[in-house]
């Protein structure tokens, strides 16, 4: 294993060693095409069936045929939204949120150019939705509601089960981007009203480049990729058998570790958060601390910039990520931070620490010791900072030209 402290598990995760072991034979002796009749393909086909089952169990889906393998979370999101539009040409409205992942947001913005109407639900300062606004928008003009289960930046959870129920009562297809939630929260799709759900392997210790679209039996569907009869014609293209087997194994392991996520992973996250907040002034947790993923914490450090923090952390072997503009090369800080109305002085300094079951409490203590001097070092350089606190009336004392 590589050295260093990896706290960027919402970006991607290490493939679990057990998962690697399980998938390796599918590159060599088990290379057959699962569609083939002969023994080479046949065996692979049986293993795909098992993987489908393992995923079904983790999602609590009623049928294994509700699992469609795709190439990634992004493809699952695109398939879900475009399918709903194609299958219901008279419905030209989409409801989503302002804080979705670009996999949904960029697609929606693109669809707006083709005259689809998109409602982006706003969030409050803690990243929560206004359910009244949502209810008022549901109508028979709406083709699909697409709402993320958990936010990748802040970890904040949306009330998906409730929202799916409301959507069903209004006769509208409900999709959730659960890429960050699957494996971290227990799910039971057969008991709720979610029609479609996206997940991505690399967020739960399976490889990159494998995803799933859950499609409830009976929901109208149009494929994104047409071609062969793979996935019952719902997603053509020869199956990525090694990764499918891997994802199956990863889901089984996620299921076994669910309690661990809720208890130990959460304990590490909480310890880190308290440790940092205690030691560093002028910083705060973003999102809804009482309702979020157990593995995620996002802290905004005021008056300093995120990329600079990450570079200094990286020098100490600590990996995290930031919503600052500079890490993405854009001029605006993260749309999630802006949507929550986090002031610019803090939004640029937001740092996300995201855990997995492979982290340890020892690592947490190291990070708690590393962060305060880094923040102090950067604040010393900051024109907004003076000695032990922000410059008074910073707007007046430092008001740069061309703001």
């Amino acid at each position: 294993m590589t050295t260093g402290i990896y706290l960027d598990n919402n970006a991607t995760t290490m493939v679990a060693p057990e998962v690697v072991e399980e998938m390796l034979p599918f590159f060599s002796e088990q290379f057959g095409n699962p569609s083939s009749l002969h023994q080479f393909g046949n065996k692979v086909g049986r293993r795909l069936k098992k993987a489908r089952k393992q995923i079904q169990v983790l999602l609590g889906a009623e049928h294994d045929s509700e699992i469609i393998f795709t190439s990634c979370g992004t493809e699952s999101d695109s398939t879900a939204i475009l399918s709903a539009l194609k299958a219901q040409p008279d419905r030209r409205t989409i409801i989503t949120t302002i804080v979705e992942h670009p996999a949904v947001l960029s697609l929606c913005e693109y669809l707006e150019k083709d005259d689809y109407i998109v409602h982006y639900l706003k969030v409050d300062k803690k990243g929560r939705l206004d359910m009244q606004e949502y209810i008022s928008l549901l109508s028979d003009e709406v083709a699909i509601v697409s709402i993320m289960w958990a936010n990748n930046e802040s970890g904040t959870l949306f009330p998906i089960e409730e929202m799916a129920e409301l959507s069903r009562s209004a006769g509208v297809i409900f999709h959730t981007d659960a890429v960050q939630a699957v494996g971290k929260l227990p799910m039971n799709l057969k008991e709720n009203s979610v029609d479609m759900l996206s997940l991505s392997g690399h967020k739960l210790h399976a490889p990159k480049g494998i995803g799933v679209l859950y499609l409830r039996r009976g929901v109208r569907f149009r494929p994104l990729l047409r071609g062969g009869h793979q996935e019952r014609g719902r997603r053509a293209g020869t199956e990525n058998s090694a990764s499918i087997v891997a994802l199956g194994k990863a889901c089984e392991m996620a299921q076994e570790n669910m309690w661990h996520e809720k208890s130990e992973v959460k304990a590490m996250r909480d310890r880190l958060e308290h440790g940092i907040i205690e030691a560093v002034s002028h910083c705060f947790v973003t999102g809804d601390p009482n309702n979020r993923l157990p593995n995620t914490c996002n802290i905004a450090f005021e008056y300093i910039e995120g990329e600079a923090i990450l570079l200094l952390l990286n020098k100490l072997g600590i990996a995290a990520s930031s919503g600052s503009a500079c890490t993405s090369g854009s001029l605006e800080p993260s749309h999630v931070m802006r949507a929550m109305d986090i002031p610019f002085t803090a939004a640029h300094g937001s740092v996300r620490f995201s855990f997995s079951r492979y982290n340890t409490m020892e690592e947490v203590e190291k990070v708690i010791r590393a962060v305060p001097p880094i923040v102090a070092q950067l604040r010393k350089l900051s024109p907004y900072w003076d000695g032990n606190g922000p410059v008074e009336d910073s707007e007046k004392v430092f008001s740069p030209n061309y703001a």
């Binding site: 008056y303 910039e305 600079a308 570079l311 200094l312 001029l331 740069p400």
Partner: protein, 297 residues
């Protein structure tokens, strides 16, 4: 993350001249909080010979913003202010062995802080002379504001035009959609509609080596060669207009509205392209109507 040079990293991890200069007699504040960059430059300038004796910076910003500030202060220390004013943002970037295209604006910020500080020393008011937009073309580091202004000033209508004037879009193609959006927005200011099929505004020089008259005659002759084939199917074709690479024709008789019309157009296009030895586009009469009514030339 970023591909920072060793020098950028060195200046970020060990910044020179950090902090405010005591008894400074020049201060320049520039930046934009929304962009995540802000820089205060303080200088101690010798009143007798106008040499910068000391320079210090305070920066709110990313790795390259801090490194650029550090580099700037190193470059200008010991210079007369007249010489310092000649330091360009490229000089700052070069001093750091280059910056990623997305980060060039950090060096621009350095230069502006310097100008602001010297204006402050001279008792002048410094006016920012450039506005910065989001980076559109990453290959050539061209931002939105520059593209927008260039489109407006030169009445550009196509992505190809924009590439010719600014280089933006001349590399990996990933920003073509973004450039089209800017075109649509700017053209809408004049009530024009962006046409993705338009060809670049410059008069296209015939690559066939023919003069315009020769080329026109050749096109006419080539169309005449096809007509017997169409007439056999009780149709016909008429040449309407030649506009650079766009050749407009009218399908008549059985050909007009026939479901094979597009196939036929394709056939005519191939015949003309082969006969002329250049790439051309054959368009139906309807396209000509659209072109004139939308006001696009």
């Amino acid at each position: 993350m970023w591909d920072y040079s060793e020098t950028v990293q060195e200046h970020f991890f060990n910044p020179r001249n950090a902090g405010a200069v005591e008894n400074a007699n020049a201060t320049g504040d520039v930046g934009s909080l929304s962009c995540g960059d802000a820089l205060r430059l303080t200088l101690k300038i010798d009143k007798k010979n106008e040499v910068i004796i000391r320079a210090g910076f305070q920066t709110f910003g990313c790795g390259s913003a801090i490194a650029s500030s550090s580099a700037l202060t190193e470059i200008i220390k010991g210079m007369t202010i007249d010489n310092a004013l000649k330091v360009s943002n490229q000089d700052i970037a070069d001093y750091l062995d280059g910056l990623p295209p997305e980060k060039m604006h950090c060096s621009v910020m350095g230069r502006e802080a310097l100008h602001a500080a010297i204006a402050n020393y001279r008792g002048e008011v410094w006016q920012d002379d450039h506005e910065e937009g989001a980076l559109v073309c990453k290959c050539f580091a061209i931002d939105e504001v520059l593209i927008e202004e260039t489109i407006r000033e030169n009445a550009l209508k196509t992505v190809e035009d924009v590439s010719n004037f600014t280089k933006a879009g001349g590399g990996c193609s990933s920003c073509h959609e973004g450039i089209e959006n800017i075109l649509a927005r700017v053209m809408a200011e004049n009530g024009e509609k962006f046409d993705p099929n338009a060809v670049a505004g410059e008069i296209v020089k015939p690559t066939s080596g023919l003069t315009n008259i020769q080329r026109m005659k050749r096109i006419d002759a080539l169309i005449d060669e096809i007509r017997p084939n169409l007439q056999r199917d009780h149709g016909d074709v008429e040449l309407l207009e030649v506009d650079g690479k766009n050749i407009y024709v009218k399908m008549t008789g059985a050909c007009s509205g026939c479901h094979m019309a597009t196939t036929t157009l394709g056939g005519i296009q191939q015949h003309l392209a082969e006969g002329l030895g250049e790439f051309i586009q054959v368009l139906p009469a309807e396209a000509l109507v659209q072109r004139t009514s939308s006001g696009a030339q």
